[in-house]
Symmetry: C2
Subunit: 157 residues, 2 copies
Amino acid sequence: MADTRWLDADEQKTWRSYLAASRLFFDRIERQLQHGAGLPHAYYEIMVRLSEAPGRTLRMSELASTSLSSRSRLSHAVARMEEAGWVLRTPCPTDKRGQNAALTAAGFARLEAAAPGHVDEVRSLLFDVLTVEQQHALREISDAMAARLADGHLGRP
Amino acid sequence: MADTRWLDADEQKTWRSYLAASRLFFDRIERQLQHGAGLPHAYYEIMVRLSEAPGRTLRMSELASTSLSSRSRLSHAVARMEEAGWVLRTPCPTDKRGQNAALTAAGFARLEAAAPGHVDEVRSLLFDVLTVEQQHALREISDAMAARLADGHLGRP
DNA sequence: GGAACGGAGTTGAGAGTTCAACTATTCCTG
DNA sequence: CAGGAATAGTTGAACTCTCAACTCCGTTCC
């Protein structure tokens, strides 16, 4: 473990700005969905991914990775969503270890009801405050970060 | 409530990219601090702000806003940190409603021990994957978002 | 000066997340 | 094909966070 390369003043400001914006932003997204639709953002994401899958059905592990959830988080979440009648779990025919999660009609309706308020919030807090150039920059920045994060991990090179 | 202005394909990609990068990034930051230093990122932030304050002491409400915590979250967090011996709460002399939170020597030591691993992670996942131009762009983007988020709120204009 | 209002902070219940341990099945390899 | 390793998913406990009361103190305004 070599000596730490501390952040210089510029980096410090960038980091704190990014941290503040992201925390505040995601807190707002969370609150909007909770108040407006009675579900957490993680559940919303899970339902979105299911709604886009063929037959509105996915294997649990697929669903975990596309919705950026850990397996455990997904298990708990799907259990709750199943109680609520939004999702149905069935054993996977080809792999007896597996489970398929399917979005029910009630779940889809819930998602459709939640979407407008959510999109409004994203638009008003993100796209409405950025120029088109900034939007493209943000996308490239995020892609670069995501690429790094998708590596197994490998601490330092 | 007017008709929803849905995201077009480009906006969709930007949004999902930002979402994925941020979720993965903050999950990693959280995990690194938890494993490397045994404390959540929220606690780390609280300790950082205290460490920078005169006398390493701040009013609870000041601390809540600078550390991006709700009052309730901060109360719970400081209670735990006090049990751990990292923080000390004392009544505020000038306002009997208030409380001052002070970072103890043990808390400061803990923070110093946690910092290198945390900074390494931030550098390796954020700054090492961005050009200097991208870093500046990210700062401006974040500042714009934070400015919007700091408004009382006001849904649509 | 006493009642109403607002600010500071805490508390407890409820919900989501994480972590580690666990079961069950499938894959791999000698 | 037997046995170990890896994969899929679940579970329960511990922890953090949120929300809605609630207390206590200060401020204001008749």
